[in-house]
């Protein structure tokens, strides 16, 4: 696989034992040729991945590739559109809040700071109308299901999709509404802004750990990504 070769080249080139701390996610059934299981288990940071091991494998596109290539659409969208297309399995199994931890290469993001587009901000004023997340998420998942049953276009409806993001070293999680962002750049810069107040940011990494239900989401929509760590 082209991307995994690229990846293993990079890791051997810079002399760091990146593999030991790597998190990988991929389509079920796809194998990463160079994956070393022992490394994965030794690193306590990837412990939760053990649960996903049977479903998850493979080394995919690097983070910097995701940005550089300029395919800056949020890559959870299967149809390449700006909406976050949602698999009905995901919604039905998942319910309201997804859990997601985002791993990032902070150097790359520092270079590519961008603001949340004002059009997105105009459409969705934060916290308005005043409806609790619990209600918003419940309604979103229900209306999605109804749409599917009616065989209509699976489009992201109104409502929100709140996920939790954690960064190593940060004392608490932050919540972010995935539907607020239409591109990956917007999301990553918003996340960076959220975590920028922690002084240890330069030594932190955000990790991506997907719960089982999220894998269904990913697998049905698009190839996934992995991040370099350091």
């Amino acid at each position: 696989m082209e991307s995994s070769e690229k990846f293993s080249q990079r890791s051997s080139n810079n002399g760091l034992n990146l593999k030991a701390t790597k998190l990988r996610l991929g389509l079920p059934g796809s194998e990463s040729p160079e994956r070393d299981d022992d490394d994965v288990f030794e690193d306590k940071n990837v412990y939760p991945l053990c649960m996903l091991k049977s479903l998850v494998s493979g080394a995919k596109r690097g983070f910097s590739d995701a940005i550089d290539v300029g395919s800056s659409k949020w890559i959870l969208s299967g149809n390449g559109g700006s909406e976050i297309g949602m698999s009905k399995d995901c919604i039905n199994k998942q319910g309201s809040v997804l859990k997601e931890k985002v791993e990032k290469s902070s150097n790359h993001l520092n270079e590519k700071k961008s603001q949340i587009t004002s059009s997105a901000a105009k459409e969705q004023v934060v916290g308005w109308p005043p409806i609790r997340s619990f209600r918003k998420n419940s309604m979103a998942s229900q209306s999605q299901k109804n749409d599917d049953e009616d065989d209509e276009d699976v489009e992201a409806k109104s409502g929100c999709l709140y996920v939790k993001v954690s960064m190593d070293g940060a004392p608490y999680l932050r919540k972010v509404d995935l539907k607020f962002f239409s591109t990956y750049m917007e999301l990553s810069s918003a996340l960076e802004k959220m975590f920028s107040c922690f002084t240890i940011k330069n030594h932190s990494k955000m990790r991506l750990i997907m719960p089982q239900s999220m894998i269904y989401f990913i697998s049905e929509v698009c190839p996934v990504f992995e991040f370099d760590t350091f």
């Binding site: 934060v126 916290g127 308005w128 619990f134």
Partner: protein, 595 residues
């Protein structure tokens, strides 16, 4: 008077007085009444967990059995308060675990509760009975396991709208077979399936069970069997209210199950409703006093058919699918209605797609003489309608109107809605809570300041022209306790002029307004019993000029001084020197008391 009654008699008299307000009043009569009252107070309500320290509370009330704490500001419900802001309950639990081992009840709202906290509760309080966590977060089903395993006398476990890390549905298996005291269980916020056979066993062996609110993961075809274990239920929240396809045998077993519940008065849940199953609840409709259909995506005709059979409703929560015509039916049949909430089915859609307008609310205000509490989301409103509502229903105590698009004027006249809301506050003399929306100028605040003398809580968004608006409210509303404002052009002047007022209130929230950092500093320095907290995620506010407006501002009165658990994006406006002075003064006072 204090010489007439011995302490024991006074204590006995006080034991009949339950309300916090009355208890607070008693404690102010005299020093000896203060002493007697504090030693026998069993229940305490603390509206802001940062207003007082756990140590102070425990020292004053050593015999507490029940504590209620609220943490984050109300606007945290709408994601205006960044995560990590605070509201941690753990220090309270730690202090009470040591000093009040006989504690029985903990009720929390908008607080951060960890598994560690839950474990501490489970292991420290031998007679623990009630755990209510409303809109809380930070814990997982692991924490629930320790509660289930250890709290032998638990009567209530209520997790309403909390954000729980749902790791496994087996936590419910941890209630031992010998455990039979459950009275109320609300797990409607959980995402995943709980172990159904364990749940059934639990329901079957708890004869006092009155409230059961399931989560959406409980399949409808399991509901009859669950209900058969607890036919004495008074309040039920269903799980999902549909099956893949309509199954007549499920419908008939539902009818049988519901018919068996002779005490059932309150229904909620109804996630993913298949309308053909609604007739199952018809047998119990006449007894219903509370109906929550606010998650039910069903059409107006189905809603009307259901509500038409519920003449005794006191409380109705519903989606705007009910439409004006449905609300007219409510007005005709639910003559005892006290509370109405109408939620938007599609809040971000700008076009009116539902035939729900101001007319629905006007009909209900006309037809329901006991209506006191309203929460209404709609897309259009007029001064005439608000005036009619005010005149129809002067007994309103809570009126929260949310017109979905900010700055929406009266759709008939294109004028601001000042006079309409003015009519509300003028006629509804007992109004305690008000939320404004639509196009509003300073005039509406003048009306509020002039008339809303009983108002305790006011929520304002996208309203007003100038500082005058804020000044009217702060100077006029004598009973104001909580004020929350977002996106209004209110600035320094009104705040500084009315600084003393802030000490008479629980809290003030202002976000996206025009209050400068300099004013915040000044307020913090001048008002020693106020905590002035600036929330700014873009960096330290003193890296910018003093006249720069702050992102968010939260001011609350406190006798505990600045809190010690502020995250990186919250700055207190208390300077160190005044804090040190307070500590010195407190130390001297303490010495005096010991003499």
């Amino acid at each position: 008077m204090e010489h007439t009654f011995p302490q024991k008699v006074l204590e006995h008299l006080f034991s009949f007085i339950d309300s916090n307000k009355d208890r607070n009043a008693i404690s102010l009569v005299s020093k000896s009444w203060y002493e007697i009252e504090r030693r026998c107070r069993k229940k305490i309500f603390i509206g802001n967990c940062y207003a007082v320290s756990p140590t102070t509370v425990i020292k004053r009330f050593p015999e507490l059995r029940s504590i209620t704490l609220k943490g984050k500001p109300h606007f945290a419900d709408f994601n205006l308060v960044p995560d990590g802001w605070g509201g941690y309950v753990h220090s309270w639990i730690e202090a009470m675990a040591v000093n009040i081992p006989l504690l029985e009840e903990i009720r929390l709202k908008r607080m951060v509760v960890t598994d560690e906290s839950l474990e501490l509760i489970a292991k420290s309080f031998k007679n623990f009975k009630v755990l209510v966590l409303i809109s809380c977060e930070g814990f997982s089903t692991d924490g629930l396991e320790t509660i289930a395993s250890n709290c032998r006398n638990l009567e209530e476990l209520n997790l309403q709208e909390s954000d729980v890390d749902d790791l496994s549905g087996d936590w419910i298996c941890y209630f031992p077979d010998s455990y039979t005291s459950l009275v109320s269980l609300n797990i409607s916020c959980l995402n995943n399936e709980v172990n159904l056979s364990a749940l059934e066993g639990l329901l079957g062996r708890c004869p006092n069970l009155q409230t059961l609110c399931l989560n959406h993961a409980v399949p409808l075809d399991q509901l009859p069997s669950l209900l058969s274990r607890c036919p004495q239920l008074v309040e039920l929240g269903t799980g999902v209210y549909s099956t893949e396809e309509m199954r007549p045998e499920v419908l008939s077993s539902l009818i049988t199950a519901f018919s068996g519940c002779k005490q059932l008065k309150s229904l909620s849940g109804f996630w993913n409703v298949l309308p053909s199953y609604l007739p199952a609840v018809y047998p119990i409709c006449p007894r219903l006093t509370s109906l929550n259909l606010s998650y039910a995506i069903i059409q107006s005709s189905d809603i009307v058919k259901l509500i038409g059979q519920c003449p005794n409703l006191l409380r109705l929560w519903v989606l705007d699918y009910i439409e004006d015509v449905g609300l007219e039916a409510v007005a005709a049949s639910c003559k005892d209605l006290q509370e109405l909430r109408v939620f938007p089915s599609d809040p971000s859609c700008l076009e009116p797609n539902i035939a729900l307008t101001e007319r629905g609310l006007v009909s209900v205000s006309k037809g329901c003489p006991k209506l006191q509490s309203v929460l209404y989301f709609c897309r259009q409103m007029s001064n005439a309608a608000l005036d009619a509502i005010a005149q129809n229903r002067p007994n309103l105590t809570r009126f929260r109107l949310c017109i979905l698009e900010p700055h929406t004027p009266d759709y008939l006249t294109l004028q601001p809605l000042d006079s309409g809301f003015g009519a509300i506050v003028e006629h509804c003399k007992d109004l305690q809570r008000l939320s404004l929306s639509g196009l509003l100028t300073d005039r509406v605040f003048e009306h509020i300041g002039t008339h809303a003398k009983k108002l305790e809580m006011l929520s304002v968004a996208f309203a007003g022209d100038s500082d005058l608006g804020l000044h009217y409210v702060l100077s006029g509303c004598e009973n104001l306790r909580k004020l929350e404002i977002r996106d209004c052009p209110f600035g320094d002047e009104a705040l500084l002029v009315n600084a003393a007022k802030l000490e008479t209130m629980r809290s003030l929230w202002m976000s996206s307004c025009s209050v400068s950092f300099g004013a915040c500093k000044l307020l913090g320095q001048k008002m020693p019993r106020l905590n002035v907290e600036v929330i700014d995620e873009s960096g330290p506010p003193d890296s910018r000029p003093d006249n720069c407006p702050v992102e968010k501002l939260y001011i609350y009165r406190s006798i505990a001084g600045p809190r010690l658990d502020m995250p990186g994006f919250v700055w207190t406006m208390k300077d160190d020197s005044s804090r040190r002075l307070e500590l010195d003064v407190a130390g001297v006072e303490a010495q005096f008391r010991n003499l």
